[in-house]
Amino acid sequence: MSNSNMNLKLKVWRQQNANDTGHFEDYRVQASPDMSFLEMFDVLNEQLITEGKDPVAFDHDCREGICGMCSMVINGRPHGPKHGVTTCQLHMRSFSDGDTIVVEPWRSNAFPVIRDLSVNRSSFDRIIAAGGYVSVNTGNAVDANATLIPKEIADEAFEAATCIGCGACVSACKNASAMLFVGAKVTQLALLPQGRAEASKRVVAMVNQMDAEGFGACTNTGACSAECPKQIPLSVIATLNREYIKAKLKGY
């Protein structure tokens, strides 16, 4: 716990709205190593407001790494330089005094910028709405222990289900592909007996929607998984491919 101050130079993307072309602006800010990256931005914004300038708009909410709302590309990497953490869990001790830090929004046609560093990720919702669920109405369920699920399967499904829908995968992918996100949901529900019944219908509907949203195609570089704050494995994309082809060959 050090209280020593760090002097940082920030280059932050500023963009009024979706139609604005946008540009970088330079700021200087003092931070402490124990601060989170977003708390450093709080300091910057208080500074800007006091100076009578417009604060930087950025998305954030839970600040404990689970809601998936925070989204900044820091020095070219979504959620910054550390593996397996979101921006809100990235602390300034990962940087050094005197650093210049470039901060950009998620960039993808399917995630249009709303303002500055905030982007619109409703395309993800539409993919889930297309089929990322089990069609079971409230009240239809049988006893929870009626269907036994081997621990290994439950664990694997859980691993895929930990996706927080932040969009770092799209942001990291050179093709702005959403297949890690889609693969995670398809894998979770395809593994569990509850989701098996409509697995074929689901995967085709989700992929159709994914394509319609304008995400790119996967070229297996693995950047998505490497930058995923929840470390969703690349194998979910293989599962997605397999499920999709199987469904298509079945005529779905």
Partner: protein
């Protein structure tokens, strides 16, 4: 046909076709490479010429050539389409890129590597395939394919081009081999590491063997 339209309409369908044709081309490389390796018997090309003659005259092989070209064209067509499609998915680019932090450069450069390979292929087909198929080097017995090669590779420029082509091939395969399996949906925690090591070994050995031929001929290791 409607059943297979997804191969040209959806991202995963297109990728799947890329993977399938890729694996098919890999199987061709294996054959091509084995035939080429015959020169290392160092018997003045006797074995090699025999193999080449078989490949050039057997009707099954000759008809497979159409399939091969079809596969190649599909691979090229889908590749170029996806390259453009993927580039368009992000109209506004990042000003700072840190790709090396999360992926290998060659996995991110399959389009470039593929294009280099395509250019090389044009040169290569002009040099040997056209001559071997549409002139009568083999059938007339005036000049064997082996002699033709010796002539071409006496010149250092083609040797350099071929070696560069093989380097592109190596990196293209390093990513492409295991990537094809992933695209086809084959991923398993026990088998995937085996596929990956096999892929690495295959890429390096095949590319080395291919590159060794012009070099060996140029340096007259092969008589």
């Amino acid at each position: 046909m409607k059943l297979f339209s997804f191969l040209f309409t959806s991202t995963i369908g297109r990728k799947w076709l890329m993977g399938l044709t890729g694996l098919f081309l890999i199987s061709f490389l294996l054959v091509h490479c084995s035939v080429n390796a015959c020169i290392f018997f160092n018997d003045e090309g006797e074995t090699f010429n025999m193999a080449a003659e078989f490949m050039g005259t057997n009707w099954i092989i000759r008809s497979m050539e159409f399939v091969l070209f079809g596969g190649l064209l599909l691979h090229i067509f889908q590749g170029l389409y996806l390259w453009k499609f993927n580039a368009d998915a992000r109209k506004k680019r990042y000003s700072v890129n840190a790709g090396s932090a999360n992926s290998t450069w060659y996995s991110r450069s399959m389009g470039i590597l593929g294009t280099l390979l395509l250019l090389f292929l044009v040169v290569h087909l002009k040099d040997f395939w056209l001559t071997s198929r549409f002139t009568d080097v083999i059938t007339s017995g005036e000049k064997t394919l082996f002699q033709e090669m010796k002539e071409v590779f006496a010149n250092p420029l083609p040797v350099v081009i071929y070696v560069l082509g093989c380097i592109s091939l190596c990196y293209h395969l390093l990513h492409g081999f295991q990537s094809a399996f992933q695209t086809l949906g084959i991923n398993h925690k026990s088998y995937t590491p085996i596929i990956q090591s096999t892929g690495r070994l295959f890429s390096i050995v095949v590319s080395l063997l291919f590159a060794a031929m012009p070099v060996a001929m140029h340096l007259d290791w092969i008589q």
